[in-house]
């Protein structure tokens, strides 16, 4: 819309990413651990849709590396997955923006589910295979959370005119 407008309040984006990193390691009760949403992926998906000129795959890759360090996985594993998610979102971006919310949720579910399957594949390659397909549950939870994240961040974006 305002291509000539100077970039402003960019720090808010990074603040949300920082909060996302915190949320992704925040302690949860034992039974809820397997439902932990993919916070970083959700935030990346939203910002990639909203500000595709600023948030791209490089950002996703860096955040993924950070997540790898936090999780103690192989460096690059989560980076690969977040890059994949961002790639899919960016390639569907034009259509995704037109979709009603419930369709967006479905698309998010598919994308995140795919990413989690790649995650499963990678961790099987590195030797610690998860025993169940419960791994796909976070994708489901994330898809259910998508409307709230989406509306919340959109409100924030309009309020602060993040560009």
């Amino acid at each position: 819309m305002a291509r000539h407008a100077p970039a402003r309040n960019g720090w808010v984006v990074w603040l949300t990413f920082a909060i996302g990193l915190l949320l992704s390691v925040s302690p949860l009760p034992q039974f809820m651990e397997i439902f932990r949403p993919l916070w970083l992926a959700l935030l990346l998906a939203f910002w990639a849709l909203a500000l595709p000129h600023k948030i791209g795959m490089v950002t996703a890759w860096m955040l993924g590396l950070a997540e790898d360090v936090l999780y103690g996985t192989l460096l690059g594993q989560n980076a690969l997955i977040l890059t994949l998610i961002t790639f899919l979102v960016l390639s569907l971006q034009q259509r995704l923006r037109m979709f009603p919310m419930w369709q967006q949720c479905l698309v998010i579910l598919v994308i995140f589910g795919l990413a989690q399957l790649v995650q499963l594949w990678l961790s099987a390659l590195t030797g610690n295979r998860q025993p169940t397909l419960a791994l796909v549950l976070p994708a489901l939870v994330s898809a259910l959370l998508w409307p709230w994240v989406s509306y919340g961040l959109r409100g924030l974006r309009l309020r602060l005119k993040i560009n």
Partner: protein
């Protein structure tokens, strides 16, 4: 391109140690987020302890006191038992038990991946933590350090499905391997013969055979033993004694990183020096004994005060060594005072002789002080 890059990075990270510094530098910043994520819990505890009522504190204090008393009581026995154990080991010529040093660490985060059992503690490379270091809590073994960061480290718990630990049954020394199952309340003993003497309630302690964990720490108690005729081995399930998902304060065990041979050699040397030390004090008392005997003789007259003869024989034997330190009494007056009442009894008929026992008693007293 980023995909290729991340695959390359993954391979490099898996195969080489090239990226270790990068990871440790990044962790320096990022590990703070565990700390921050833990902050609400910490704050809550701080507030709770601030506003904890007086009666609660008093009750807790009471409880801790009784617990302390119980532990102290057990400790008294422990000293004697340790001593006995050392002596028995000497008799058997087996190597001495290594006394491990421990340091307290605090849990700062759980691994977010629900399928692995790993925790993050607030001690890292800069605190002297090493890879593979065993971690305990108050009740038993918890796991080992698998990843080092500058100020934090990651601990793999016993119950992780990729973890196994060599154990033995405390009751009879039967050896087995306890593997994690991915369930925080369960370990499984692998390849235990159907006829093995193991039953419900047995305590499993670490056997130290893997040379990673120190021997003798409690690991788990056997919960059930299932004999299935269709299976080649008995199914043995055990519950870890450590509160793996509840402990907040952990103990890092610093045992020396020497090889067993070096350790044995060192232990032998230590034993030798100990023997020598034991021999030296033995030499010292041998010199003091003759002087102590006359020192004791002044006490004797308390009983045979009516019979001056034993006192006199004492003076006679002591008069020879007492010839030289005649000048000593001036400096040894405080030491000699206890001898005086005893010495003052014989002087009734021989005032010259008490001078002889005095200097002898003084060196004996000083000897005892030096020791």
């Amino acid at each position: 391109m980023l995909v290729v890059l991340s695959v390359a990075v993954m391979v490099v990270d898996a195969r080489f140690t090239l990226l270790k510094p990068v990871r440790s530098q990044m962790s320096l910043v990022l590990m703070q987020s565990y700390w921050i994520a833990d902050l609400p819990e910490r704050l809550y505890q701080g507030v709770a302890s601030q506003f904890g009522s007086r009666t609660e504190l008093a009750a807790e204090n009471e409880k801790l006191k009784t617990e302390n008393l119980l532990l102290q009581g057990r400790l008294q026995k422990l000293a004697a038992l340790t001593e006995q154990n050392v002596r028995l080991r000497e008799l058997l010529n087996s190597s001495a038990l290594v006394n491990e040093k421990v340091e307290v660490a605090e849990l700062i985060g759980m691994d977010p991946n629900p399928f692995t059992h790993r925790i993050i503690i607030n001690k890292g490379e800069r605190d002297g933590v090493v890879l593979g270091q065993p971690v305990l809590d108050a009740r038993g073994l918890m796991g080992q350090v698998v990843e080092l960061m500058p100020y934090t480290s990651r601990v793999l718990l016993l119950t992780d499905s990729t973890h196994s630990i060599p154990v033995q049954v405390n009751r009879n020394g039967l050896r087995a391997i306890a593997s994690g199952t991915g369930n925080p309340e369960r370990l499984e003993l692998r390849h235990v013969a159907d006829t093995a003497d193991i039953k419900e309630g047995d305590l499993l302690v670490s056997s130290g055979l893997g040379q990673r964990f120190p021997a003798g720490y409690p690991v788990a108690t056997v919960k059930e033993v299932i004999h299935d005729s269709g299976q080649p081995f008995a199914i043995v399930r055990a519950v870890p004694t450590a509160a793996l998902n509840r402990s907040r304060y952990l103990l890092l065990v610093f045992s020396d990183g020497r090889s067993p041979e070096e350790r044995a050699a060192d232990a032998a040397q230590q034993q030798e020096s100990l023997d020598r030390q034991a021999a030296d004090p033995a030499a010292v008392p041998s010199t003091t004994v003759p002087s102590a005997a006359p020192a004791a003789t002044p006490n004797k007259p308390v009983v045979p005060a009516t019979v001056p003869k034993p006192a006199a024989t004492g003076h006679n034997t002591s008069s020879a060594p007492a010839a030289a330190p005649a000048a000593a009494p001036a400096s040894s007056t405080p030491a000699a005072t206890p001898a005086k009442p005893a010495a003052s009894k014989p002087p009734a008929h021989q005032p010259a002789k008490p001078a002889a026992p005095k200097p002898v008693a003084a060196p004996a007293a000083t000897h005892e002080r030096e020791e």
